[in-house]
């Protein structure tokens, strides 16, 4: 062990300087999956956030609980349920494959779906809080000035909720970068197709001589996570004057 530690610290600088082509593929795939995840949760997340913040309907608390389920369920269970639903022989998966020739399981799209499902509650929560903080009185004022409900939403509610929406998107992006359990079950761990950062770290740790690569990717993960936090902080500061006035 002692020998190994010396080896690690001695080459730390060199490891940081470059990534192998295989590791670049991992990084690129992770970025693509995380980006697609953020895009995928954006509009449904805003819609659900608005629904929970501004409307009352029967069964609202049930919908709320269902939306938050992925937060509390073991990720592996979520992945398993996705496989049952969207696998090629799954409830909907079979239909999609037979009629449209669409396959999700064990493709990079499955990694996007898995992380989007995991990230969705975070997005909805952030948007919901932001919309609840946007004063409905301002919406009433907009309608008195002749703005239709849709225009009011687009020009008043949405801009006022912007900090929350950005936070939600950054959270979804970061959650996707770290997603492991649901992804490995639903998308598998296929090099170049579904092997995202955490899966690659896991795989390198399992293989002999993969320590250096694992450590490099761990460092990259840490940098990306901190980067996401910084971006979210800058964004919320940029729009914080809006919240102050609304309060």
């Amino acid at each position: 062990m002692g020998c190994r530690r010396v080896y690690l610290s001695g080459t730390l600088g060199r490891m940081l300087l470059w990534l192998s082509p295989e590791e670049w593929v991992v990084l690129g795939l992770s970025a693509r999956v995380a980006f697609c995840c953020a895009v995928a949760v954006s509009i449904p997340g805003i819609a659900c956030g608005w629904l929970l913040a501004r409307t009352r309907f029967p069964g609202k608390s049930l919908v709320d609980a269902l939306l938050h389920a992925p937060l509390v369920m073991p990720p592996v269970v979520t992945g398993y349920l996705l496989l049952v639903l969207l696998g090629r022989r799954g409830l909907f998966g079979q239909f999609l494959f037979n009629h449209f020739g669409m396959t999700f399981a064990f493709t990079w799209k499955a990694a996007v779906i898995a992380s989007a499902v995991m990230a969705f509650p975070l997005m909805v929560r952030a948007v919901r809080i932001a919309i609840e903080m946007a004063d409905p009185k301002l919406e009433a004022a907009a309608r008195c000035l002749g703005a239709s409900p849709l225009r009011t939403f687009l020009t008043i509610t949405l801009p006022l909720a912007r900090p929350g929406i950005i936070t939600g998107l950054v959270l979804a992006f970061a959650r996707s970068l770290g997603e492991f359990g649901a992804t490995i079950v639903f998308a598998g761990n296929i090099q170049g197709e579904t092997r995202t950062l955490p899966l690659a770290v896991y795989s390198y740790m399992q293989s002999s001589g993969g320590d250096a690569a694992a450590l490099r990717l761990v460092l990259v993960s840490i940098l990306l996570s901190l980067g996401a936090l910084v971006v979210s902080e800058i964004m919320s500061r940029r729009y914080s004057h809006i919240e102050r006035v609304v309060e």
């Binding site: 004022a141 008195c144 000035l145 002749g146 006022l160």
Partner: protein, 369 residues
């Protein structure tokens, strides 16, 4: 003309309104919780009556019988809120343009330039609402509503959250809007002074019901109307023309003028050095009913500077104080004790002198104080 018949129950509060509003400015007076704001919100479409009918110039906005309810954004009722409700993420000029942009050019009553000049907003156009003072914010809110070219301007206690000094700054703008624009206004306030400064046509609400509607001096005889007016700070508004100002002696001579007959009565004297008072200028001042004394003749040898001759046109008895309306060219409301009224032998038609100290006259235009 705006015609509102509406019923609404909210918990213990019951609203039953029936009124026709056909004047250019109608003041709506009533205590908190009397239904003033609800009335405006029903006209704007923000509150739906349980039953009733709201019609503006043959255009039915709401009719419970036929199930018609024109949505707020199609009613074009300009509501100015007490709390301004400027959009914090937009600049002042974007706030002003918000409603205007939604209108086809042919429906626009005013140009931005006109409104910006009228409300003196040039210097704050680039500001964010958070950077504005209360008075500026209220002017922007008013301008924003005007630029949306509403068919009726609904003002919901626009000055209630402002201090006295700011109120005095906004009032001249409201008077200007009244005089310059053809848009009818409904002005809600729990301060009679603000309303009477703009109009003498009022609707008095009490616990969700209309207890009086019409020119103040015509409905003041109703004890409920009188009580509401007194609770909400009834004052006389004097239209005055400055005759001369002696800064060294601190004396200003003013002439009462009437809307139709022009100057009337003896000139009034107001003491105290005031800035910006130039001869010929037309101003407004308030005079509280309890600050006026009545006399059977002009009195000499007293310190009271102002004595105007008039004629009693109305006598209203109420349990604690009697109210006398005196025509001195304009109608002055005077409060006196029942004993005083008896001692003077007041009768409708009898000549009477109104006496008041010069300090009882309070200018309404802030630039004068």
């Amino acid at each position: 003309m705006l015609q509102v018949t509406a019923e609404l129950t909210r918990g213990a509060f019951q609203l039953q309104l029936d009124c026709r509003l056909s004047d250019s400015v109608t003041g709506i007076i009533g205590a908190s919780g009397s239904g003033k704001t609800t009335l405006l919100h029903m006209v704007a479409g923000l509150v739906k009556p349980a039953a009733g009918r709201i019609v503006f110039d043959n255009d039915v906005l709401f009719d419970s019988a036929s199930g018609l309810d024109v949505p707020t954004h199609r009613r074009r009722m300009g509501l100015v809120f007490q709390d301004c409700r400027l959009f914090p993420h937009l600049s002042v000029s974007e706030n002003l343009a918000y409603g205007e942009r939604l209108l086809p050019p042919k429906d626009r009553h005013f140009s931005q330039k006109t409104v910006i000049e009228l409300l003196e907003l040039e210097s704050v156009l680039g500001h964010r609402p958070g950077q504005l003072s209360g008075g500026q914010a209220q002017r922007v809110a008013l301008g924003r509503a005007l630029l949306a070219s509403p068919r009726v301007l609904l003002l919901d206690e626009p000055l209630a959250s402002l201090d006295w000094r700011l109120k005095q700054q906004i009032m001249p703008f409201l008077r200007r809007v009244r005089d310059v624009t053809p848009i009818p206004m409904l002005y809600v306030s729990h301060d009679s002074k603000e309303i009477l400064d703009l109009t003498d046509r009022i609707v008095v609400l009490e616990s969700g019901k209309v207890v009086g509607a019409g020119p103040v001096m015509d409905i003041i005889q109703d004890p409920r109307v009188l009580q509401q007016l007194r609770l909400q700070g009834l004052v006389n508004i004097l239209p005055l023309t400055v005759l001369s100002h002696d800064g060294a002696a601190g004396l200003t001579r003013l002439q009462l003028r009437t809307p139709v007959a022009g100057p009337c009565g003896e000139p009034l004297t107001v003491s105290g050095p005031r800035l910006g008072v130039t001869a010929g200028r037309e101003i407004h001042a308030t005079l509280r009913p309890e600050d006026i004394a009545l006399g059977g003749s002009a009195i000499t040898g007293v310190s009271i500077q102002n004595q105007i001759k008039g004629r009693v046109v109305r006598l209203i008895h109420s349990p604690d104080r009697d109210v006398c309306v005196v025509d001195v060219g304009i109608s002055l409301v005077v409060e006196i004790s029942p004993n005083g009224a008896k001692a003077l032998g007041l009768e409708v038609g009898s000549p009477i002198w109104c006496l008041f100290k010069s300090s009882a006259i309070q200018y309404l235009d802030v630039s004068l104080s």
